[in-house]
């Protein structure tokens, strides 16, 4: 309560707050409707979708889609496991690589800053493409059918490096680093004990992006994984989408089309898989969020 009055002059007015809230409520609704829609379809009866199309209020409800997945579901549980492992390991490795690299190029006094900056910038523009990447990951590094093929290629991205670098620039006063140096602390020590703790918001953001990136990745699985036991959950979903796309290219070649559709789950099942891929990651979200929304209270700095 004590801080309340003190903070008051730093806050927006009650009226503005209400206006902001109304605006954000509308925005939030616009954002979640499609997801709710997906959830509703996943609980709809398949035949009513065929005859009537999508609807927010289906004629008949059904849990068939989820039952179907549970029945054929040992794969799905397994894929969850793979996704989880890849996401956790990848996020940690990625954070370590990005946090260090970005720190180095954020130091204004570091003489090789420009070299390392340009080194990170070029990959943002140029990529080896399908063949180049496959050549290195599958052939040179021999990571085919290995979990590292899902982890390593996504560990860093120039974009994250530069975003984190600019976070460092805003949140770390050069004076602190200088004084640590004068105190005789090693660079690594300064980085670990001073830089990391005050960059939590930035690290949480990059951590969140990495987590999302790993969770949503399917491309590496598509290219490098033949072993069915190593397939992440997202690829299960995308594979279905790719097959539908393939089907759309076939035109009137019904012979092949019926071969493709034979293994294609129904629309409600597809939507149920969407729900099942999004739900876990949505649950993890608040864990990261507390670092960049929770810390917003201005009074917090006064403790």
């Amino acid at each position: 309560m004590k801080t309340r009055r003190k903070r008051h002059y730093l806050d927006i007015s009650e009226g503005t707050n209400i206006v902001f809230n109304i605006f954000l409520v509308i925005l939030s609704i616009l954002a979640v409707i499609p997801f709710i829609f997906v959830v509703i379809i996943s609980f709809s009866d398949e035949t009513s979708i065929v005859s009537k199309g999508y609807s927010f209020v289906p004629e008949r409800w059904s849990t068939y889609a989820y039952e179907y997945i549970l029945e054929n579901g040992s794969d799905i549980l397994h894929s969850y496991g793979i996704s989880l492992i890849v996401t956790v390991i990848g996020t940690l490795i990625g954070l370590a690589l990005i946090a260090t690299y970005a720190y180095v190029i954020s130091r204004p006094t570091y003489p090789y800053r420009k070299f390392f900056t340009v080194l990170a910038l070029i990959p943002m523009l140029f990529s080896g493409g399908l063949v180049g990447n496959y050549l290195v990951v599958a052939r040179l590094l021999d990571l085919k059918d290995s979990i590292w093929a899902l982890v390593l290629p996504l560990a860093m991205s120039p974009f994250y490096v530069f975003v984190l670098k600019s976070f460092y620039r805003t949140s770390i006063p050069d004076a602190i680093i200088e004084s640590a140096r004068i105190d005789g602390a090693s660079e690594l020590r300064t980085f670990l004990s001073i830089v990391l703790p005050i960059s939590k918001a930035g690290l949480a953001t990059i951590g969140l992006f990495l987590t999302l990136g790993y969770w949503n990745d399917w491309y590496n699985a598509m290219l490098y994984i033949d072993e069915q036991a190593l397939i992440p959950i997202q690829y299960m979903l995308i594979r279905i989408e790719n097959n539908i796309n393939f089907l759309a290219q076939l035109g009137s070649q019904q012979g092949i089309a019926s071969e493709v559709t034979r293994n294609l789950p129904s629309e409600t099942v597809r939507m149920a898989i969407v729900v099942l891929t999004v739900a876990p990651i949505a649950c993890v979200y608040p864990f990261f969020q507390k670092y960049f929304v929770g810390g917003l209270t201005l009074g917090a700095v006064k403790e």
């Binding site: 370590a96 598509m222 069915q228």
Partner: protein
Amino acid sequence: MGKKILSLILVALLCVSLFAGCGNTEKSDDAQKDEQKEVATEDKDNSSADDEEAVELIYYTIGTPPADLEMVTEELSEMTMEKINAKVNLKFIDWGDYGSKITAIINSGEEYDLAFAAGPDQGDYLGNSKKGAFEPLDDLLEEYGQGILEAVNPGFWEGVKIDGKIYGIPTNKEIATPQWWMYPKELVDKYDIDIDSIKTLEDLEPWLEKLSKEEPEWQLMELDQESHFHPGYEYIIDDSVPAVASLNDDSLKVKNLYEEESTIEILNTLRKYYKAGYINQDAAIKPPAGLVEGEKVFWAQAQGGPYSDIIWSKNRGYTIVASQVEDAYVTTESTRGSIVCVSSNSKHKEKAVEFLNLVNTDADIRNTLGYGVEGVHYEVVDGKAKFLDASSNYDVPNYSLGNRLIMYPTVEDPDDLWEEYERFNEDSVESPMLGFTPDLDPIKNEIAAITNVTKEFRPALMTGSVDVEENLEKFNEKLKEAGLDKVIETLQSQLDDWKANK
């Protein structure tokens, strides 16, 4: 406290990632060495031919990977070990991913022995053959593949030749894929419709008129983005490039499909039907999705062969009757729908061909490949395959894996299934262009542009969704701009040369 732990973790990870990096490079070096060693020993083995070591053939094919793949490849390898002293490592790549993944594998020079190939997004038989990715097989077939040469219909061999050479083994199945029009038996019986008398869109009109009044819950005609009509003409490159030649005469004159009288007539008819409400309103933006179960559709078209109506009925969930609306022509397209190729990088080309020889001639091996392990996935009842419960764990496409005609028919198939196939293939007529493969290199850029123009205009025109006169004129204008004339000219001169040397 938490900070310390966090920093410890970070440091640990740094080390791990560093070592992991080094470890990997070392590992790959070793692997490469091993590979080289292997190569060396193998070369030796080949030279001392008689006492050869068993090889493992890596075989990429299209389709959703089945759960029991390992079990089946083991069974299969046992059989092939006995016969040709080789194992097979069969790898399925899912439909929608096959194109990208096989492109990466082929172009990065990865070693494999066999791969499925068809159109550009399914292994690109034409492009990859020309690029040198697939081995020309004529000599190898002569030596190791006599059985295949005999088993596969000669029309296929004519069709898969590129510049006179065979780059892959076509699947022996229906050799032509003419258009069929399909109708629900229920309505055909109820109104006593003589479907065999309906050969053109105009023939449909009285029925459409009648049914639109009496059967309002049926969608009368179902068309989609990829629907198109070209009776009597064959596309020389792809349906996205409207350079066609007539199938009915030997003139081999290349024309623009959209300047032909018959096409304009078709477009006008479609427009009339669309306006009358016979065609689904969303046709121009409807992606083809196969035959959706339970959808009530009076008329739909499909390419097919003998007894295709059985499959269509299964897809629809109600009985379908179908009639073939054009003659069955053996075309380059119809013969290149499913080919198995040998990699030019393969170390075991002879074995690969021997293996293909088995697949195409040995019924046991072919049945195992297509249906799974006997007694587990299927059983044989009166010479027909009856699927067991576990068959859903090995559900693979059959058109892509080799000679269909030596397989057991399934219990749902009619007794004379393969006789009917033989008869159908026998009766099919060779297209005057069969065996001609255009050289696309000089017209690649034009094809790119034309493809995009076709995708822009054709769906709307071929579903009657837009006014014909105005849009057709625009379409043709843009086709010309994109270089259709050059394409036609080039194809014409290539065709003339080919004909002269035939």
